[in-house]
Amino acid sequence: MKKVMVGNHAVSWGVKLARAEVIAAYPITPQTQIVEELAEMTADGRLAARFIKVESEHSAMAACIGAAATGVRAFTATSSQGLLLMHELLHWAGLGRLPIVMADINRAVAPGWSIWTDQNDTLAQRDTGWVQLYCETNQEVLDTTVQGFKLAETVDLPVMIVLDAFFLSHTSEPVDVPDQAEVDAFLPRREARLKLDVHDPHAFGALTTPAVYMELRLRQQEAFDRAREAFAAVDREWAERFGRGYGALESYRTEDAEIVLVTSGTITSTTRHVVNERRARGERIGLVKVKMFRPFPTGPLRDALSHVPAVAVLDRNISPGHGGIFAEEIRAALYDLPPGRRPRIDGYVVGLGGRDVTPAVIEDCLERTRRSQAEAAAAAANGGAEREIAREDIWVGVKP
């Protein structure tokens, strides 16, 4: 069944199809529609869940943690400041290995107060032990939400579904809503391996000595390692059942590409348009979309980008004092490739605080990389040394 819906409601429908049992949330723009819709679904009986109103995002996550610890399927949604307020509890969910699914609408962080999109809120939670999956379309949002529960429960890790404020959250697109029965077959009721049991009480998360803490971290790390393959399996099964798959990474027209643009979120769609135009003019331009940020898809990235001469990473985020976060991580992931297979990587910081990333902005990034690549090639041809990599990311589309 196809329905026209905004990205927020695509999340709600995904949660409904996944039959979440506990939803605890605190409203925040631009997320609120997600839980409003879920509250209505819960109230009118379409979704058999307990909806818990709380006084803060901190409490919302705490309620989800409590619920998930008892073995039920728990969901929340938030954005920006709300996500930041949750920070402490994100660790509790992460190291507690609780398969909570949360949607975060990427919204810039204050001050200045902003409701528009960028990725600094979610990327600030990089090390909290959550899987992070970034979405490009409303269809992908719905699909990833359902997939997220399966992935979470497979590897006992919490999963964050990430989508851009307004560009997805409040933009309507046609979305195919799968049949409930088929989703039920894909995602059966949760079977918790370890849970709170009043008949056999144990303490969870209590004092943990140096003798064992590190092993807990290792278990977590192993789970993240498994999550790469687990996601691939979940995505594969989804594609078999519903005809749509996304992959941790998507390579788009990268065959024989001289320059590959790397994007995440809705910038990807605009970049596809630019790539198509350039390809039509015979230019060898490609695109790699990063969907999974944690665990970081190191292997697929190395496969996708080795042999590419130049890579331009577009970051809708900034790590102050360093640069774009995707660019940093991709450089690190590719650093130990042999010199002949290691691309040059230019980083571009774009679209912060919801500023439009238009085709012109993307082309600007592309032309800059093309020029720097030509300079490097010329230098190499003249027998010059390989260019120094340590250069700063460039801010594009910004007033000086």
Binding site: G96, D156, A203, F204, L207, T208, E215, L216
Partner: protein, 612 residues
């Protein structure tokens, strides 16, 4: 806590999450606490604020449960005249109401009036206790005497009331005007007391018609003859026939008289009696001016009385005091004040021949506060002016009259000295109401009569060797400063109390977050224009549904009404419903977090220290 000491799990490595390897059943959450919640009912501030000592919170609680008859029963345990006090009491209970900090005080008087009227309508008669052999004589049938008679009759005594006037009621019958307290309402409440077996002997004044020693035939005597002596103006001309004591005037009207007033009536004074005089004169067709020596804010009259007088058309001249009553034979040559003259412009028709022409007055100004804490009015020199009047009513306060009492009854500052249960110390003689040191209001009089009834009961039981003298009075009070509760004296409270403590709950101890603001129901009133046409009751009170809604606004301060919030909020699920009503706490799981006590909307849970 995961550790590496002998856990079988750890033989194969560490579990995926930090989970204890052994059961935590040995370390129940209850062992963490150092303070514990206990259910401990307390006293609502209204109960303490009520001079009668009514369990207001208790009947509000019963009404919330739709137990209207039980609510009436509880009210009648403490208050002999609820339909009267629902109308004429100035409800200090409402001034104490914690709800006022959220929106507005509960309309307690409105609820009481509804219950009082319902008690009359349904002819509800409280059951007396086992009859006792002793008899009690009561002198005076005002609110103090009626209250004492009622409670003593309920306690099983044979009671005789001696009343100088033709009908019982005292100030209720002969002082308070019909439009504030309809005579039939009073008659119904007096009849309830009669139905308990109280013998009223009216038209006999002890010390005049009946020798004082008639009282010696009783085992105990309660004297409450009230304050009937109006204070004099103390100015030239006050003996002229056109000058009357306000209480006298009210008594005549309340007897059914309709005295000719002339057209211009000036009332001197700013208390409730002055307002009664002014509004009564207005209803008899006069134009009325009130002269008061202080300002509006200095008036001792209750606000509602002043507002009603203003609405009905009574005029006020503040900061003005009479210096001389001018007879018709000696009209002063001074020019009358224009503003004052304008007051009477609208008069048309022929006045009866007046004895006075008016009052020469002086302007007053306010100086440093006197001992009463109110600004002291002093005359402004050379500010004299004339106010025309056909009749002058004085309402400057009343003094008690108890000359007939034996001389060795102890007196102090013009009143009879009594102890905490109104015994004079002179044998079995008790006293109450306005002849003792009480504010001159109906509620305080009722409260003193009730206190005396308990005092007499205790005295007679002690004399009969039934009880010792060790009863702790403080435990009988509605809160540390409240009046005596008959229910506490007799026992058998119809409201379940858990571990009650005699402490008043403050607003800070309630949790107003659990109460949505709801507007207070306003009394219905006759339109002011209609009120002037006669003596129909001016304040029509609340509809029954309005009154019941008011009862639902009550916080039930300090008393568990089983609202369930403690049970809902307890994070350890340690609270459960108790078979006998109320709740119990599983202390082996309660970790002493205090959430229940914080969430309790009414402060009925107390956190106490764990025994060390």
């Amino acid at each position: 806590m995961p550790d590496d000491r002998g856990s079988p799990d750890l033989a194969h490595g560490v579990p995926p999450v930090a989970v204890s390897s052994t059961s935590t059943r040995v370390n129940l959450t209850g062992s963490w606490k150092y303070i514990r919640p206990v259910y401990q009912d307390k006293v609502a501030p209204c109960n303490q604020g009520c001079p009668v000592g009514i369990d207001i919170e208790g009947y509000m609680n019963l009404l919330r449960e739709d137990r209207i008859e039980d609510a009436i029963g509880l009210l009648l345990r403490e208050n002999a005249l609820p339909a009267v006090t629902g109308r004429v009491c100035y409800h200090p209970c409402e001034n104490a109401c914690n709800r006022a900090w959220l929106d507005d005080a509960v309309s307690i008087h409105g609820v009481e009036r509804m219950l009082g009227d319902l008690a009359i309508e349904q002819r509800i008669l409280p059951e007396p206790e086992t009859p006792r052999p002793e008899t009690v004589g009561i002198v005076g049938s005002g609110p103090a005497g009626l209250s004492c008679a009622y409670h003593l009759a309920r306690l099983g005594y044979t009671v005789t009331v001696y009343e100088a006037e033709a009908e019982p009621g005292g100030i209720l019958r002969y002082g308070i005007p019909e439009y504030r307290l309809p005579k039939d309402v009073l008659a119904h409440e007096v009849n309830r007391i009669r139905a308990l077996g109280v013998d009223f002997r009216c038209g006999v004044q002890v010390g005049r018609d009946l020798p004082l020693n008639v009282l010696e035939s009783h085992d105990a005597v309660f004297v409450a003859t009230g304050a009937r002596r109006g204070r004099a103006l103390g100015i030239e001309g006050e003996d002229l026939p056109g000058v009357r004591a306000g209480l006298d005037f009210l008594r005549e009207v309340n007897r059914g008289g309709r005295p000719a007033l002339g057209h211009r009536v000036v009332v001197v004074g700013g208390g409730n009696t002055a307002m009664d005089c002014a509004r009564t004169a207005l209803r008899l067709g006069a134009e009325v001016l009130v002269l008061y020596r202080r300002g509006r804010e200095g008036m001792p009259a209750h606000d509602e009385e002043v507002e009603d007088a203003l609405r009905e058309g009574v005029r006020f001249e503040f900061l003005a005091a009479p210096v001389r009553v001018e007879s018709t034979e000696r009209v002063p040559d001074r020019e009358p004040l224009e503003a004052i003259e304008a007051t009477f412009d609208r008069f048309e028709g022929e006045p009866p021949a007046p004895h006075v022409a008016g009052l020469t007055c002086t302007r007053m100004r306010l100086e440093e506060p006197d001992r009463s804490g109110r600004p002291r009015p002093v005359p402004v020199e050379g500010s004299e002016f004339f106010v025309a009047a056909d009749l002058v009513l004085t309402a400057l306060g009343e003094d008690p009259d108890f000359d007939f009492l034996p001389e060795d009854v102890e007196r102090a500052s013009g009143v009879v000295r009594v102890n905490a249960l109104n015994a004079t110390g002179h044998g079995a003689l008790f006293a109450g109401g306005d002849i003792t040191d009480e504010p001159h209001t109906v509620a305080f009089a009722l409260g003193s009569g009730k206190r005396a009834a308990v005092g007499i009961d205790r005295y007679l039981r002690f004399r009969a060797g039934e009880i010792g003298d060790g009863a702790d009075l403080s435990e009988l009070r509605q809160g540390p400063k409240g009046n005596i509760s008959v229910t506490r004296w007799v026992g058998g409270d119809p409201v379940r109390r858990t571990d009650p403590v005699n402490r008043v709950v403050t607003f800070q101890e309630t949790n107003p977050a659990h109460f949505a603001p709801v507007a207070r129901a306003a009394d219905r009133h006759l339109p002011p224009g209609e009120r002037r046409l006669g003596f129909r009751e001016a304040n029509l009170g609340l509809e029954r549904e309005q009154a019941l809604a008011e009862a639902r606004r009550c916080f039930n301060c300090g008393v568990c009404n089983e609202c369930e919030l403690c049970l809902v909020f307890c994070p350890d699920l340690a609270i459960s419903r108790s078979a006998g009503g109320g709740y119990e706490i599983a202390y082996e799981y309660c970790k002493g977090c205090g959430v229940c006590a914080t969430e309790c909307p009414r402060g009925a849970i107390t956190m106490t220290r764990e025994g060390l």
